[in-house]
Each structure stands twice: as structure tokens, then as C-alpha cells.
Amino acid sequence: MTETLTKVVVDCSTGTQEVVPLTAAEIAELEAAADKAEADRKAAEEEAAAKEAARKAILDKLGLTAEEAAVLLG
């Protein structure tokens, strides 16, 4: 069974609350936003991994451990 996505609308002038099914356009927009967030998350992970690899390469070149580099940097 397909889940029906809904939105809750709270009317601040009356205090009433209504549960409304999302339209197809709203669902498509949510899916696009989720896809973008996932792509951003993966890009951030890849950037962090690349930075870590570059940092390790420099330390290896210098013959230092991460702990020794931390001591040098104070």
C-alpha cells in the first residue's frame, strides 16, 4: 500500500488544525529536495575524505604522525 503524504496546517487566527494530502506537485518538489540533500551530503563526505587523504599524504611525506603534527601546531 502506498503511503499518503500529508501536511498539517495550523490556522493561528482560529486555532483550527487541518490534515491535507500533498498534491503531486508538492510530492515531486519534496523528492527533488531530498535528492539534492543526498547529493550535497555525498559531496561533503567526498570532500572531507579528500582533505583527510591529502593531510595524511603530507604527514607521510614529512614522516610525522598526526599526534606529532598536533604537538607541533600547539
Partner: protein, 174 residues
């Protein structure tokens, strides 16, 4: 402690899951708005953003600068022409400890003045694991209209039942 000018306008605690929560017909009789929440996503990551829209504006009128820390790493990023504002870690996801919720606060100063609207929010994930996150966002909605509605959307799919939202108005004292 909140002063007597700190007034609850409306609140909602979800009795079943929902993709978004809207506060509509917000009165224009306050100086600032504060929205507090405790929420969780049904989505499968450690944490998800809550997407923000004011007055249903879906144009690229939002910018957001974020700092984020996890205890072992820190990062910062920016979006200049987004179709959403963000509460970056507003929702723990189903990868976090069961039955825990993120806690967050969104502050909207001078929401009725005829100028662009800055906003700020702070969020923390509540999880009994090592990857808890905290973040702060500095945002701007480039629109001069009075804010009369706020839409909060879970970027992970659905806010789970029990997620709660409280909208307060703050009136400047004379």
C-alpha cells in the same frame, strides 16, 4: 525565563506522521517570532534538515550560512539563492537512537517591517551515539512582506508522530 511579552500563538504535536507543518494566518501584532520544536524524521540518515518557507515563497529568495559540528569534525557551508531556508539538523533520522528527537529554535526578528527578513536558528540532535550533531544557521529571506505563514518540511520524508512545534510572539516592551 521568558518575559510576560512572550506569548504562545499556536502549537501542534503530531498525532500521526506528516511531511510538513504549516502555521498560517500568523498575527502581525508582535515584534518578533520564535518557533521552537522537537522533531524526528522517518528518513534513514543520522539527521535531516527542516526546510523553511515563508508566505509560500518558492522562488530563489533564501540564503543560508551554516556551521555544523559533530564533536570530531566541523564544517561550514553556504547557499546564496536557495528555494528554502534551513534548520540544518532539525530532525534526527531513523539511524539515530530510537525515540530521540532533535531540538531547535528559529528566531525571526522584526517580521512585519518593510525590509528583507533575516532569521537565525540553532539545532541539536539528541542521540545516545557518538555522532550527535549541532548546528547554527544564519539565514535571509529576500522579501519585504510581513511574514504571515511558515511552512516546515522534513527533508527526510515525514516528521514522525510526537514531533512538536510551538510558535511564540514577542512584543517589544515600551
Amino acid at each position: 525565563m521568558p518575559s510576560p511579552t512572550y506569548t504562545l500563538i499556536a502549537s501542534n504535536t503530531l498525532s500521526s506522521s506528516a511531511a510538513s507543518v504549516t502555521f498560517s494566518s500568523i498575527p502581525n501584532t508582535f515584534t518578533d517570532l520564535v518557533l521552537k520544536g522537537s522533531s524526528r524524521s522517518a528518513g534513514g540518515n543520522q539527521a535531516f534538515a527542516i526546510l523553511l518557507r515563508f508566505n509560500s515563497d518558492s522562488a530563489t529568495n533564501y540564503s543560508d550560512t551554516t556551521i555544523e559540528g559533530s564533536g570530531s569534525a566541523a564544517s561550514s557551508y553556504r547557499e546564496s539563492n536557495s528555494v528554502y531556508g534551513y534548520i540544518t539538523n532539525g530532525n534526527v533520522g531513523s539511524s539515530a537512537t530510537a525515540n530521540t528527537f532533535s531540538n531547535w529554535e528559529l528566531y525571526l526578528p522584526n517580521y512585519t517591517v518593510n525590509s528583507n527578513k533575516p532569521f537565525a536558528d540553532f539545532s541539536v540532535t539528541e542521540t545516545n551515539a557518538t555522532a550527535a550533531k549541532m548546528s547554527a544557521d544564519a539565514g535571509l529571506w529576500r522579501n519585504t512582506a510581513t511574514i504571515s505563514s511558515i511552512v516546515l518540511t522534513d527533508n527526510g520524508g515525514n516528521f514522525v508522530s510526537g514531533s512538536s512545534f510551538f510558535l511564540y510572539g514577542i512584543r517589544a516592551t515600551a
